[in-house]
Amino acid sequence: MKAKKNPAAPGTGKRVLTLLMPYRLLILSSILLSAGAVALTLYLPVLVGRAIDCIVGVDRVDFDEIKRLLLWIAACAGLTAVMQWLVSIIHNRVTFQVVRDVRNRAFRHLQQLPLSYLDRHSVGELVSQIITDVDQLSDGLLLGFTQLFTGIVTILGTLGFMISIKPLIAGLVIVLTPLSFVVAKYIASHTHSYFVAQSRTRGEQTAYVDELLGGLKVVKAFGREARAVEDFDAINDRLETTSLKAVFFSSLTNPCTRFVNSVVYAAVVLAGALLCVSTAGTAAVFTVGSLSALLAYANQYTKPFNEISGVMTEFQNALACAGRVFQLMDEAVEPPDAPDAKVLSDVEGKITLDDVSFSYDKSKKLIENLSFTAQPGQRIAIVGPTGCGKTTLINLLMRFYDVDGGAIRVDGTELREMTRASLRANYGMVLQETWLRSGTIRDNLILGRPDATDAEIEAACRAAHAHSFIRLLPQGYDTVITEDGGMLSQGQKQLLCIARIMLCLPPMLILDEATSSIDTRTELKIQSAFAAMMRGRTSFIVAHRLSTIREADVILVMKAGKVIEIGNHDALLARGGFYAELYNSQFSESF
């Protein structure tokens, strides 16, 4: 998996900073503002302390001074609130905009990545890089950054104020606080193993639920409900035990650190009050107001420590996520079209493969020395067992992958000497794996020709025998379908994909098992439309129904990356080779 690679490579932090560069002024002002807010927050107890010192007893109350101090307190509180608010606003702005920028860039990058990369990575993994990892990056890095910053300022500020009030008591607090750190660390390190156990058992349960609910119809068909519940309960009970340990032990952190805090608090009370008594009447009097301020600080002082230890783990997590996002953005994009690349137009459809070799895994040979010419308008069927290289050939023709050796030419021009866009614009492709996007039926049909009129769309759908079922959908052509077509059957989805191509009719066609899910009767009905579509267009057809293939001008019989037989149906049958064997197996059956 990716995580093992330690994606938080050196330099990740630096790159995060470059992302933040455009916002440096905002960030700088946010730092200054939050430093100001923290300082004022810390200053407030001092003011309150002074005010309290003005309230000693009957006739020992300095109302003028109190009034002055209270005005100060009001001003400070107001100013602090404004600063806090500004910091939040700036922070939101920077965070969300950085996230937006990173996502846009990552997505744009994705559009340029070669299929060789995308095919090797699962969709879930890439989606989580663009969505989850980027979220974590913003949460962890930016939020973490401000929290860390304010935390440090708070600690330093508190220390400063405490020292300025009474160095001795400040020293006492400094010595005692690490205790809470130690306690928290001790608990965290011991609960870690419980958390690991919990997430492992949880994963096991999710997998079981996934499998059993996914196959629930089979469970019911075999009357296995009771047994399924029993097995589930076994995992469920184990989860209860591990979960209880993890939840309980992790929840000890707060009470324990709170206890340490109360010890610190008691120590400050003790030392402070004794100081008040012993200095009473002397010049270096330690007032009750100072004590009250110190107590407020003692309460505040330990909080940022707990926060910071939390922030640090989030920080590391965020850096790891940033690393993964950068890794994606560092992947080499498809080499751009050559500057003098031709724009392919007025295609006749002569396609030449000249000594082509290619493999996905360079250590395992796949296609080797493949040479062959398709004349304009020819129908070329590609036949062969699974894994023989049919789909690979399509990848090369569409230039989803570049050949390793040799050359593919269209009308005499090498693929690498023309723009990818113009090459692909001249191919119409229907794949076995139908793909429809979420949107209306119409959106899906006009993918290749956004300017098609309603009449044209309907004509294409009639030809593809899709009109009759589209008409019956709740909103006809404007029915919204979910990704993967939801309510449509596999066969109907294939009909839509065929209609999509019939609407734009490019000069060359690639039909990869285009009718595999359509029942034979419907297939027969659209045969004529298919024939009309292929007339005058160089077409590559992959199919396993040999009846579809026999009308091809040329049949390429492939096996293990090589073309082992080539010719038309009759010639190949007469030859009595691999093709003849395949063909005969289809019709030699009897019950």
């Binding site: 005010a51 309290i52 000693v56 007893g57 109350v61 109190i66 009001a74 602090t80 609130a81 806090q84 939101n92 702005r93 969300f96 905009q97 846009n104 744009r108 989606v127 969505i131 949880r202 999710t206 997998a207 499998e211 059993l212 996914g214 196959g215 629930l216 019911k220 068909a221 075999f222 009357g223 047994r227 589930f232 309960d233 989860l239 209860e240 939840v247 929840s251 206890f259 608090y265 120590a267 009370v269 003790l270 009050a273 008594v277 009750v288 004590l291 107590l295 692909r424 793909w435 993918l447 059957s489 034979t520 009767r521 419907t522 027969l524 009846s547 197996s585 059956e589 009897s590 019950f591």
Partner: protein, 586 residues
Amino acid sequence: MQKLFSYLRSYRKECVLGPLLKLAEATLELFIPMIVASVIDRGVGGGDKGHIIRMSLVLVALGLLGLGFSVTAQYFSARAAVGFVTKLRHALFAHIQRFPYATLDRVGIPTLITRMSSDMNQVQTGLNLTLRLLLRSPFVVFGAMIMAFTIDATAALWFVAAIPVLAVVVFGVMLLTMPMYKRVQERLDRVLGTTRENLNGVRVLRAFRKEQDECGRFEHQNMELTAAQQRVGKVSALMNPATYVIVNLAVIGLIRTGAIRVQAGILTQGAVVALYNYMSQILVELIKLANLIINITKSLACGKRIQSVLDIQDEEQVQSGLPGGDPSVRVEFDDTAIAYGGSAGEALSGVSLRALPGQVTGVIGGTGSGKTTLVNLIPRFYEATRGRVLVDGVDVRAWEPAALRAKIGLVPQKATLFRGSIRENLLWGCRDGTLPSASSAEDRPIQDKDLMEAVEAAQAADVVAAKGGLEGEIEQFGRNLSGGQRQRLTIARALVRKPEILILDDSASALDLATDAALRRAIRALPYKPTVFLVSQRTAAVRHADQIIVLDEGRVVGLGTHDRLLETCPVYREIHESQFRKEAAV
């Protein structure tokens, strides 16, 4: 939510004790400012050092006692939360097991999986936090107010003034932001959906040169997401500064009132410090409370979603008093029709059919013609909306579902296997590894011989051999097998039960034609002569059946033997010719 809470009943003790102990801890905390006040007034004011030392020790003792209370409280609430969710998970899982197919179709499996996993986790976290904090925070807030009253009623009025204002701010911000957060989530889902869709359709999109359009689409949605995030950010940014100002205004008021009251000789300096400390405690608790409430709202939403699944009462009921039919007919459809929930038209209508013991019935038709629907009516996976289906002369609705399904071996269209050994998978339909027979006295343990017979009939002997025998491991969803291998094992699984009725729902689609033919021969030769329903798209697969029912868009358009249908049924002839037309020409 009532049903949900009923699972909490066995944790009544924990649910009461946990919060109570938490309250005890909070009460102790409320004494702290009082003790500090006495240190100031009696210790500092009276110069009583002994009192200062004693009170400091009391503070430590209170901390220790508080630690004891809260650790016990944490344990109770963890136990209640974890135990409750464990029970709830069991209940939901068992409940889902009882859903009929129609409910599963309507609710959707992915939804149910989310309910079982992430929703449950959120409920656990929410309940745990609730037990720990829900009582504590308001208690501290109001407790602080009450303590203030015990010090001085006039000064305490500042608490009475501040608390409602604070409540309005906290709840106001929350009420305002909750729908906004929901919108953010929706927009995030949309961005996520677009990304996934883009990756899934990368070949088609690149073939249509849509890269630029896709970037535009993504950037637009991303911008909308950012806008929503910023909007909610602006509102929630108000919370902290506003509460800060309110609390400090109250502090100002307190000090002013305090000064006047001290001057009048009613209050002491220590009492003013105590009042100030109570006000500070409120600020801290408010922030905790706001976080807690966000968490609780989330958990409640998840709890409601779980509840909504538990509320579905779609169990198959055994009905009595239904008229019977001819018991010598194994399966009978009597003018049966079905309409799926939500769609207006009938997916299947006018089916009348009798299958005698040992007969083979072919079911043929195009995509979406209703073949699977027809055979799913036999085990009562779906219920007929009109007419009836009888097995052994008894309406399927009068059968105990388990007993009915024990007679049937079903091979579904989609070959699904489960993690475990091949043996475990084959024994799926056999409770305790015995062969259920009509009378339970004849139950006998299944031997390897029985398993291998089924495997051989299903043409799967080579699959078993390739995986290293019956103990060979199968991965989740049967991922380590090819489509054809999976199909043959699912057939074997159905055969192990020696079913009286065998349903093969287009279950040979991934087999090559020779294997398919051998399979059909083997099924014909089964010694226990099951009544077979054979669903297929191809006439070659059904041509030797005793009777063939031809479906077209949910209607029966032909019923008879192959030869007769070729003469009388144009749809059947068309299907046949579409598959064999060239043979005639050659």
